[in-house]
Assembly symmetry: C2
Homo-oligomer: 217 residues x 2
């Protein structure tokens, strides 16, 4: 039960030029698999964590919220930490100590910046919708100017951080394998259920592929 997020494979990137292809691919794959993230920031001298959604565009990660959010306004130009963690399984060992989790996680550090240009912001928000539901943004009621005004988009370069991945069976102490204790892994994954149409959908509106094909985690 040492560190719950046991590291069996770890890629740490400090600066762009030190980064290996594998690291970047691992990090991107985790970010792309799970839009839910936790953003950490300092407000009034204290640590805060906000669960929100992130989307990746090349070497940048973005998140958004209300323009009225003090946390978001406060984060512009400030240090933030963005964390994504995907639980893949519960690892049960023969001692409490070696219980663990199979997880994929990414932690990114950097300074957040606000996307100021309204046209760029609109494009980012469209990319966000389409990152979840490919092609959906173009089918929606176009954003009002006031929607855009009410929304703030923050971004951060993917330049410092780490990915951790643990997979596979428990790792017990050799002597403990002789004990008659059930050990193993309980797999866990994000299951997508049957879509529930809004009761106010118009007759004849078909369910789009970007809904039926939706996957997460």
């Amino acid at each position: 039960m040492s560190d719950t997020l046991e590291v069996t494979e770890r890629s740490r990137l400090r600066r762009l030029h030190e980064r290996g292809h594998f690291d970047r691919e691992t990090i991107n794959a985790i970010l792309d698999a799970q839009p839910m993230c936790s953003v950490g920031y300092i407000m009034d001298g204290k640590p805060h964590v906000t669960p929100t959604m992130q989307w990746r565009e090349g070497n940048h990660v973005y998140w958004h919220g209300s323009s009225a959010s003090r946390a978001l306004r406060n984060s512009n130009g400030a240090d933030v930490c963005l964390s994504v963690a995907i639980l893949d399984g519960m690892v049960l060992a023969r001692s409490g100590m070696h219980h663990s989790l199979n997880t994929r996680s990414v932690t990114l550090f950097g300074k957040a910046f606000k996307v100021e240009d309204p046209q760029e912001k609109l494009e980012k928000l469209g990319n966000f919708v389409n990152s979840l539901y490919p092609g959906r943004y173009e089918t929606l009621r176009p954003d009002h100017a006031q929607d855009l005004k009410a929304t703030m988009v923050l971004g951060m370069e993917i330049a410092e951080g780490s990915a951790k991945v643990r997979t596979g069976a428990p790792g017990d102490e050799e002597a403990d394998y002789a004990l008659p204790i059930w050990a193993g892994v309980i797999p866990v994954h994000m299951q997508v259920g049957e879509p529930i149409p809004d009761p106010r959908n118009l007759d004849g509106v078909d369910i789009p592929d970007h809904v039926t094909n939706f996957r997460i985690g």
Copy 2:
């Protein structure tokens, strides 16, 4: 697409005596449903977020890690923020703006304390295992003194924080309901798969109920 974690029901507790029964029940239910959490803290003047596991005992929440962890040692007596977020569904609206998530989340603020007493620490770690797998701890190889030494347990009083819950259909602008756009909810939940026994399990060791009954989220 204003705030991704749209608030339809919100309980905010500032101090114990201001807290309603409902608030505490909502918070406890969310903490108990999802052990995965994100702990935010400040290290070297910068925000950090670590994904880890939490377990609740009455009015306290606990997490643990390696005694060698600078982050954990640094958190003892310091301000932390503990966040749990459970994704229940993707909410697709008729405009980008009103896309949202169905979620249950809790954010707690407070000062972390280290569980110093070895006997109390041992008890907490047993409670942690049993919070996930009822009765399992008593079936395991007892913790070595060195396991205990290598592990740090931190706790925090549940005294300041908030819970947010969003459920149900999208909330579109009235005029937008006339548009022929598919809107609705894609439910998401944590699915527990078929347990995978460790290939080194001894013959005749049955799978315990605490494994077959395991649920999360």
